[in-house]
Amino acid sequence: MADGQTRETARKPEDDALLSLRDITIGYGTKVIQSDVSLDVRRGSIFAIMGGSGCGKSTILRSMVGLLRPMSGKYSVDGDDYWSGPDSHRTALNRRFGVLFQSGALWSSMTVGENISLPLEMFTRLNKDMIRHLVEMKLGLVGLSHAIDLYPSEISGGMCKRAGLARAMALDPDVLFFDEPSAGLDPVTSARLDDLILTLRDGLGATIIIVSHELPSLFAIADDGIFLDARTKKPIAHGSPRDLRDHCTDPQVHAFMNREARTEPAGADTARKGQNANGK
């Protein structure tokens, strides 16, 4: 298992890695957002993608589900090269994925219930009644069974997030990608969500990749992770959030994990010193 100190050593592919990224460089147009990203997500683990706002976490996530082709590098799913072959190859691999987008991304022309039933209608042979039961159950898991017939525009932002979560789980995928699942949720709902995520992993054997800023929940559930830096456009630490909190020496990671204010700019430092020198 990787810990906070191993980031300098080259990372070798691990045998039980379900998803593995090797030297991925990713960006929009010619603008590079992150480079040299290598990571392994072990089967049945909860993997955290961390980093400051705007560093490219969602971008990495989008590339892992096939929405953005990396500029270079290799991405494999279960040993299968994801980006090789025709679109149908990716569609087949995506059948194993469930994704919660940062904005929820519910289909706005459909009710919450229909949002979850659509994939079921498309990809299973269940009849209407069975689908309705399944939808109610999935919505119940995220505490939203009362909203089944409401349209996305009629529910709150946090509810959209939870409905998006239920949709991500619709087809019982074995890999789940969550982009900031607890953003906009109250602490109690957020804690319930942690339980749900752990249950998905322990009960259903799902592998979960999560982008989150919610430190308590990261410490509680994630067992591996990567920390991306916006300035150098590279990962600067690998390891579980707990390890990074306790052992990582990088000042930026340390500040993030311990929720300290941004390391102060040089100017502010001299200001403080000036103040002290003046004996105030």
């Binding site: 991304a105 100017g267 001299t270 000036g274």
Partner: protein
Amino acid sequence: MTDHEPNSSPADHSSADSPPEWTVKSEANDTTLVVRGRWTIDDGATLSIPAGALTPSHAAAATQTLHVDVSGLGQWDSSLVSFLWTVKQAAAKANMAFDLAQLPDGVQRLFALLPAEPEPPAKHQQRPFAPLQTTGIIALDTLQEVGALTELGAETARGSIKALSGHGGMRLRDLFVNIFDAGPSALLIVSVVNFLIGAILAFVGAVQLRKFSADMYVANLVGIACVRELSAVMTAIIMAGRTGGAYAARIATMLGNEEIDALRVFGIPVSSYILLPSILSLMLMMPLLYLYGCGMSIIGGYVVATGMLPDVTGAGYLNQTLGAIDLHQFEFGFAKSIVFAIMIGLTSCQIGLSAGRSAADVGTAATRAVVVGIVGVIALDAVFAVIANILDI
């Protein structure tokens, strides 16, 4: 310190209420910046220190310190912070140390949050001005767009075959909603426009044809012009503005909300799920609207002709109309409106799908869809006219 709280000191009242001003005093080894007055945005405070205002008094070997005297400072707001921030940058350039200690507490704390100087702004990816290159890029983009359009068309066609065979992605409810939008809801505007077109043609025709005592031929003019050309083109232009723009805006919004991404990740084909109902509903409704439009324009011509020309009776007009137009002309117009529908549906969906992700992009996409739709309809109609001429239809 008296000025930690604005307007706190009655002794300074006169200067604290005066307009904002600043001066730089240089002494042997120290420079002092004096800031006085009500320093707020409303009072027209200076927001940055002019270049060159701060110069070390002599070519001093030792670093000088810049003090700030705020004893005459009244109420202040972010304009003071902005001013002092530029002072700090200027001081750093002039190699002076900047002493913050005298400043109000609030200013010091805001300063702690500010970086030493503004960070260089992130650059847009902008193409440099190069006419030749730009022309090339536009040409390539257009080609690419045409390619994408063809691909989209092929995909949608494949989707429709799948849908017909029963396991496609289209939901019938989406189709019905779209059909209602494109059909019945458009009846009123189609009626008004076509009625008026028929009436206008009849007016113009009546004035001219009366000179030749050929009053009755107004019916031929209105009938043939509308059935062959105008009803199909006008209806298509209305639909391009009404429905094409709406499709582009709707799809662009879905793109911005990541709804399209969600479809793609699930492997739900966008072509059969979103495009097919849109295009199919236009294809089904446009020919019907065309037929309806023909009727309305003939009625428009009828009303004007019977009202204006004493020799034209109602029955005679209708009889003349029926004699003038035959089924071929309807078939021609009918076929044209189906082609217009496909063109409008495909281009507006493609424009929506290739839009950016912001609200402004949605507006741009809608406008583009309308413009491309209208120009496309007229251009296609010209092509049809040429083909008809060659084939002698």
